[in-house]
Symmetry: C2
Subunit: 595 residues, 2 copies
């Protein structure tokens, strides 16, 4: 049975010491009153909810799963009651505007909340996970009438929402979707078609469910430029059942508590959200929010895995360590003393703590992008957030999955037993690398759309900041460990700049090159971010009053620079080799598999 | 639903063209008559058995699992019948000596057989997987009486066997085990104690089960030097039920078809195998065989994953590729044309084909170590096999697990659905990184026992061969792709030699250093092996009549050298950084987690 302790100490260290979140939020009129005390209070309450209400339902929800019977979906025992408590606590509305019935708190806190929810019950968390994205999407693109009717219901979480995108033949490529929307005289539309993989498409948590559905109008251009977005409620405003029904749920590797539904729209009534044919544009508001949330799921799952692996390693006694604890005469030591186990644990820890810095930094940018009084500043931060979003999604989910597997390795054979609980974490985490755009698609999004499409301007502007910071550390603390790390970071950003220039120069001749090495490129950029954040953490740690925490942070920063950052050498080598190989080699690759 | 085609073409390429197995086997009197035709015939029949008999039981066996009721274990429907067919076909006896009722065929063929068995039904394969190890162990260490009574039963597979090692508090550290064996007047022993995680401890496949059990004699020294090995049958020679019973089976992440039993020995009658207190020594015969088999499980699971990912990628149409198939006007292309998908597929393929070369090379060494007429040659090959065994176990299992996950990524959301089948492959594969010694223990075994303990002699002797071969290629084919690869390989082996010297010099001052970087060291050695084998494959491919196969091999070799071998740069960087960090940093690491 897994245990969970909300990692409040590290959360507050990241928010207060590394990111200076209170000071930055104080500059945003909407959050001027969010101080450290309020943040701590919210996090403590959120941690209690996660630990006491939904964590006890994690293993039982996995074992029981959802059941489907004649269009009705029943969630595992306790799920509906837990959602009621979530609602009563005002949690769904945490980051929604007060005028819509929300609490108007920063995304930064919402991010920490959802880290703890995913950490304690990923399956359950899937139900409210899309709420804020749907809220933002409707708020940005919905008509006044739709907003009037639905925005507060979403903000408060009284009604849950879905994203209806995927069809059996249209997953990554939404341009292929076939669901049709036919305009009616009263301004509404009738939608017909079949959607699959709809999380929370049907359930027993709320009275109504609001589906955000991508479909084609009769005059729509082919491809992704002919897709429109519609809001389709399960129950119509007058109370009648709408013609949208769940036809079955998937039997999945994990997240058994989350109902993954096939949905049939059979002339269902809906209303256009945003402009006709511009549905993907509107949906991307929701998708970007969802991508950050998915990354945070990886973070939360990784945290739980790490906590439990560490506890087991301290408890499990096996073999004598090469360096034994002082004064012991026992026949064997706790495995936490074995270097190989320490490597497994540190690999998890450095990712979890690094991932937390990356995720919270992104959430803070979301707050700034929404509320900074300076429009230019908002635009700049929006650009950087768009650049970082695919990294949060892809890298944190990979780390969450890998971290869970490392944790199982610490448990040894006991980890493979269902009752231990860690194998569920692996199964749950696996989906995060796939949904909301596979991690491969995130890497392509980063390199093609977020970097090459704007000539690298946004990336370079951020690298300028990173380098200026690193130069400052290298110069002012010469001879220190931090200065050594700063120079490693500078070498990394320089390597990235060089490679980007080469990739950009080569792609006319080698059009597939960026697609071949997009994954390596993404990991290098992620290391620039991790290196920068760990350097900031290292400096912040040195100034801490809590010396134990400070020492631990410095050690982990050092571990990052010693054991993790060298992975970039492999990525550079792959990019260099691909550049050198020219066109001949990729052509062979195609032949290899397409034959 | 997964499909499986026995990869006979690649198996025969590896055996005939890369390893020249027929010529090498011809030099062993025991296998002088094993020619290409016989090998092909055996592999074809084995492939048919795997594909037609046990593969259809793979998903159903996972869904149904084993059941336990009052000491009785029932395996999934069809398992017992399939085992009967396995027995009737003479497969358990494939590599056992003809004088013991076996077929006297090489381990090399047995290895290929077990690759296909694991590829098609890992859970089922667990039952006969230990047979050959038990046979070798008893043959080497059993008394004449025990051999007379049991060897043929094991060789033919009429009775199945187990390894009873683990106890709840003694897993990796067998020195802690507590099961007691008390000598009786008739020369037998009474065993008492509890064992866990005993694969096939109880089942309905055979009339009798022979347990090989580690236990302590009353006068045993403490620790691992006080452990003896016993044979304990479920039914005694006179037919009475022995006092060994299954008390329950584990509920596991995967391999549901394999019964993982808790066993209670309650004054059970057994007989000593080998010398008193030297049980680990005798058991290691079995363990080494088991470790090779576990590596081969990783290979088989990876093969099935790759085959299915490739088939899906050819079939699934989604988005336009950056380089479209000639003449197409379709709205989207098969995803096999997308560079990101090609990378996922090639990462699997290069591991599967490379892993096959490594595994079959090891099996061939096992044949040579047993049957080479020259005793010095036998000793030398035994040493090299002992060096390579932990690599086969750890690296091939990691690759199998990672490969299955890459395959799921190709399937996208569909891969997360149970009915697709690939998620079972991930769940099944996960145990291979843990059992028969965790992969971390394999890495330590390699560096501490197989390399540093003999001053690197065995490793260097093999590296000499590798380098001499690479020099030959670099010199004779200057300017060719193969020569470029040969020089990459030479740089790698030189880097390994340098690091090993530094590690050896530093370890007096930094005793935990080798334990810290054992994983990186193992991966570097594995790349020396993969690089050597891929270079051999590349040369062999150039001489093939089947030009399509030859071209594909050359491309895959090139992929290995371009995309995979650069990982060694990271491993070197980690070792160098650890050497440079000295003692201070590791000490911090201990404090970090032990607190």
């Amino acid at each position: 049975m897994l245990t969970y302790t909300p990692p409040l100490k590290d959360m507050l260290f990241v928010l207060n010491e590394v990111l200076a979140a209170p000071a930055l939020l104080a500059q945003l009129p909407a959050h001027a009153d969010v101080d450290t005390a309020l943040m701590r209070e919210v996090l403590e309450q959120a941690g209690r909810f996660a630990r006491d209400v939904i964590f006890p339902l994690n293993a039982s929800g996995d074992a029981q799963g959802c059941t489907f019977d004649q269009g009705k979906v029943t969630t595992p025992d306790g799920f509906a009651d837990a959602y009621r408590q979530f609602l009563d606590g005002g949690w769904p509305a945490l980051a929604c505007a007060t005028e819509d019935g929300g609490q108007g708190l920063p995304h930064t806190l919402n991010c920490a909340l959802f880290e703890m929810l995913a950490a304690t019950n990923h399956g359950w968390t899937m139900y409210p996970d899309l709420l804020h994205g749907a809220y933002s999407c409707l708020r940005a693109h919905g008509s006044e009438e739709l907003k009037q009717r639905y925005l507060a219901k979403i903000a408060t979480g009284e009604w849950l929402t879905t994203m209806c995108l995927t069809e059996a033949h249209a997953g990554s490529d939404l341009g292929l979707l076939r669901t049709r929307a036919v305009p009616q005289l009263d301004g509404s539309y009738k939608l017909s078609g079949d959607k699959i993989f709809i999380s929370g498409g049907e359930h027993d948590l709320t009275d109504n469910i609001l589906h955000l559905v991508l479909a084609r109008l009769p005059d729509a251009p082919v491809g992704s430029k002919g897709i429109s977005l519609f809001l389709v409620p399960k129950f119509l405003p007058e109370g009648q059942r709408n013609q949208v029904h769940c036809t079955g749920i998937e039997h999945k590797m994990g997240v058994h508590g989350s109902a993954t539904c096939s949905m049939q729209f059979d002339g269902a009534t809906g209303w256009l959200v945003g402009e006709a044919h511009r549905g993907l544009n509107a949906m991307f508001v929701m998708m970007n929010s969802a991508r950050l949330h998915v990354g945070v799921q990886g973070l939360g799952l990784g945290e739980t895995a790490y906590q439990n692996a560490l506890a087991y390693a301290r408890d499990r006694v096996q073999s004598r360590a090469v360096e034994r604890p002082a004064g012991t005469s026992a026949p064997a030591d706790a495995i936490v003393h074995h270097p190989a186990v320490q490597r497994l644990l540190m690999n998890q820890r450095v990712w979890v703590e690094g991932g937390r810095m990356l995720a919270y930094w992104s959430a803070l940018m979301l707050d700034q992008a929404e509320h900074d009084p300076d429009v230019q500043q908002r635009t700049a931060i929006n650009g950087l957030l768009a650049l970082i979003t695919p990294i949060v999604k892809a890298v944190l989910t990979q780390q969450g999955y890998d971290g869970a597997s490392l944790a199982l390795q610490v448990f040894g054979g006991h980890g493979y037993v269902v009752e231990t609980g860690i194998e569920q974490t692996i199964r749950d985490a696996r989906i995060t690398m796939v949904y909301e755009g596979t991690n491969e698609i995130q890497a392509i999004d980063l390199l093609m759309r977020k970097v090459l499409a704007d000539g690298g301007r946004c990336l370079f502007a951020w690298l300028d900041q990173v380098e200026s910071f690193a130069h400052g550390v290298a110069d002012s603390q010469d001879g220190s460990q931090a200065a050594r790390h700063a120079r490693q970071l500078l070498a990394l950003t320089e390597g990235l700049r060089t490679r980007l220039a080469r990739i950009d120069a080569a792609r006319t001749e080698q059009p597939r090159l960026p697609y071949d090495i997009a994954g390596e490129f993404m990991h290098i950029v992620s290391h620039c971010a991790f290196g920068w954040l760990w350097l900031r953490a290292e400096l912040a740690a040195a100034a801490l009053i809590d010396q134990a925490l400070g020492d631990a942070k410095c050690t982990t920063a050092c571990y990052y620079y010693t054991f993790m950052l060298p992975a970039t050498q492999q990525y550079f080598a792959v990019i260099d080799a691909s550049l050198a190989a020219g066109n001949a080699f990729p052509k062979d690759l195609i032949n290899q598999h397409a034959a």
